[in-house]
């Protein structure tokens, strides 16, 4: 094998490791970063200096070199307005409180991240300019695991990999439920962004139970049963008493969540993953209609992915293998390549969990439902070593994988990815119109339709991966324009995103109407009058 090819662009960061280890260097700004409105350079420098006194020099970054790993993002940022101006990494709640005090003193906004790997949604970049990343990754303690109640209490920096390792090393027969990039992300961050996984515990906010939140004024709130004299039910009962508060700390900037409880699923005696293959794009409507009653009745117990062939192919193949055209890849090109790789145009992944008798009965009902709409129901034994089946069979048992990172290579080396994820009711009549609209807008900007639908309990999340080459500035600009047109074009039809990246938070918030925005603004003003917590998050200033 020949020696490594050294990429000059990559080597610009050769000093990064050393710089990060010693913390802030001379200049108190990240490359291309813009200071927050109303904050002077002197304020920023003073805030960073005060934060160094709290966490130590090694855990504050304030110059372009040391900030580089916090500045990397897959989402479009043609004008550089999302780059952070600093990063600070506390190791405990007391340090979080001290940092918020400094932020209030200098009116310097901070942007909390848990594991900081919300890839395709912004990672550790910020919605509004001039913020210091409050990086909670060092707070990675697993505080409790109750093997009787099947619950855990964890800090924001705990990854799913850590959870899995802890359970395995202690022979605890509980499963975790992971999003598609499990090893490097964790339950707190994913739940707070209302992310999902693919086991029966896939709706993460539904299986969240109890939070500890540091408020902007430094107060510590424990939600649910956490503030009672004996908080033994903190992870057992979600609601506590009075208004249910946990929700206002998800997708928000009203507090810094420093502990979170979650429920874990007991490992089932039998696990049986299946894929249902359909050959035509237009089959999507009848798949949705067949799936809805099975999900509502719980016969299909997990969060289901209906994976479009193009999305599947983009994980393990490059665009150039499928088409030579610059224009949007056609359904025919995708169908031909998919058929060669044992994939349908739609590949619907479901799994069964329980005793052999339970699984057998559910399988009988499911086979009947899909036989009626020409679905090809395939088992592990039939799919053998098909890499896509293996990937989804891993996810549906809470297994760890980063194979989706491969999506970032579809359009070239640049690693551009932005998720567009509008929600609709789980009805077949809601599908084809969305697909037609998405293809139209994507084609206008020269991008492919690489998408899936996730079926929750009663809704469809249309998950569109906007894949572009970020190393090409013109293409990055087109991706940004395209994303905005997707948000407004879908918004006009009432299909609005359940989640978005830092580049489009304000625009998505606008789709939900002025009263929603005013209520959120009033809560924000009451809880964080200096607006030091993540201004711009979910369109809340």
């Amino acid at each position: 094998m020949s020696g490594p090819t050294i990429d000059r662009r990559g080597l610009l960061g050769a000093g990064v490791a050393a710089a990060a280890a010693v913390g802030i260097a001379g200049q108190a700004m990240g490359q291309g970063a813009v200071i927050a409105p109303g904050v002077s350079k002197a304020d920023l420098a003073a805030a960073l200096k005060a934060m160094r006194a709290v966490v130590g020099d090694a855990w504050v970054a304030g110059d372009a070199e040391s900030l580089r790993p916090w500045s990397k993002s897959y989402t479009p940022d043609p004008t550089g307005r999302h780059a952070p101006v600093g990063a600070v990494a506390p190791e405990n709640v007391e340090q979080v409180q001290a940092i918020l005090k400094i932020a209030n003193q200098y009116r310097q906004p901070v942007w909390p991240v848990s594991t900081g790997k919300n890839m395709g949604y912004g990672s550790t970049t910020t919605a509004a300019p001039g913020q210091i990343i409050l990086d909670l990754k060092r707070m990675n303690r697993i505080l409790s695991v109750d093997t009787e109640l099947c619950t855990a209490l964890v800090e924001p920096g705990v990854t799913y990999q850590q959870m899995r390792d802890y359970l395995d090393e202690h022979n605890i027969p509980l499963w975790i439920d992971v999003p598609t990039v499990g090893p490097i992300v964790g339950p707190v961050g994913n739940t707070l962004d209302r992310g999902v996984g693919y086991t029966p515990y896939g709706e993460h906010f539904m299986v969240q139970c109890g939070m500890e939140v540091v408020m902007a004024n430094g107060d510590i709130l424990k939600t649910g049963m956490g503030s009672t004299k004996n908080p033994s039910a903190w992870q057992a009962f979600k609601w506590g008493y009075g208004p249910y508060l946990d929700g206002i700390f998800t997708q928000s900037n009203f507090g810094v969540v420093t502990k979170m409880g979650l429920w874990l699923m007991p490992a089932p005696p039998v696990y049986k993953p299946l894929v249902v293959r359909h050959k035509k794009m237009e089959d999507v409507a009848r798949i949705s209609d067949a799936m809805r009653p099975l999900r509502i009745a719980g016969i299909v117990p997990n969060v289901v992915l209906m994976m479009g062939a193009a999305y599947q192919l983009a994980m393990f193949h490059r665009r150039g293998e499928v088409t030579t055209k610059a224009a949007q890849v056609s359904d025919e090109e995708i169908a031909t390549f998919a058929a060669q790789h044992d994939l349908g145009m739609w590949n619907t992944y479901i799994a069964l969990y329980g005793t052999p008798a339970q699984v057998a009965e559910s399988e009988r009902i499911i086979r009947g439902a899909f036989a009626a709409i020409d679905g090809d129901v395939m088992t592990q034994e039939q799919m053998k070593d098909n890499p896509w089946f293996h990937h989804h069979a891993t996810l549906m048992r809470g297994g760890l994988s980063l194979e989706e990172v491969g999506l970032a290579r579809w359009k070239g080396a640049g690693g551009g990815l932005a998720w567009f994820a509008p929600v609709a009711p789980a009805k077949g009549s809601e599908t084809q119109g969305q697909i037609d609209l998405a293809k139209q807008i994507l084609a206008r900007h020269g991008f492919d339709y690489t998408a899936a639908f996730a079926v929750g309990m009663r809704e469809l999340h249309h998950i569109i991966a906007l894949l572009y080459d970020k190393s090409d500035p013109a293409e990055e600009k087109r991706a940004d324009d395209c994303y905005r047109e997707l948000v407004t074009g879908f918004g006009d039809r009432g299909w609005c995103s359940y989640r978005t990246g830092v580049h489009a938070m304000d625009l998505v918030a606008a789709q939900y109407g002025e009263t929603n925005r005013a209520v959120n603004a009033a809560i924000k003003q009451a809880l964080d009058p200096n607006h030091i917590l993540a201004p711009g998050k979910s369109g809340i200033a």
Binding site: M1, G3, P4, A20, V145, Q162, D165, G414
Partner: protein, 106 residues
């Protein structure tokens, strides 16, 4: 021959280096380079997504720079994710590691 001779040693060594030993209420201790590689890098490199990096004698500084900068589609890893001490050990380990015949892909 040499590869087979090493196998028993690897089987004995694997469980200890693959464990985090994290106890309840404690932060994650410094991981061995083999564990760091298995917990983060190996999910892509040698596993369909990223290029194979073991057995290539990549320069230590080059590996460190790649980890922190995250070239192209690769995510950047912050010092809060892979500590400076872990990165030093990891980069040296990757640089010296032999090819792993179980790895495959791009």
């Amino acid at each position: 021959m040499r590869r087979w001779a090493l196998l028993p040693l690897m089987l004995v060594a694997a469980p200890a280096s693959a464990q985090t030993g994290q106890a309840l209420g404690q932060t994650l201790a410094q991981r061995s380079p083999a564990k760091t590689y298995a917990s983060i890098c190996a999910y892509c490199h040698g596993h369909n997504v990223g290029p194979i990096i073991l057995g290539r004698k990549l320069p230590v500084e080059y590996i460190q720079a790649m980890v922190r900068a995250g070239r192209n589609g690769m995510p950047a890893m912050r010092p809060t994710e892979i500590s400076p001490a872990e990165l030093d050990a990891l980069a040296t380990w990757i640089s010296k590691a032999p090819k792993d015949i179980k790895e495959h892909g791009q």
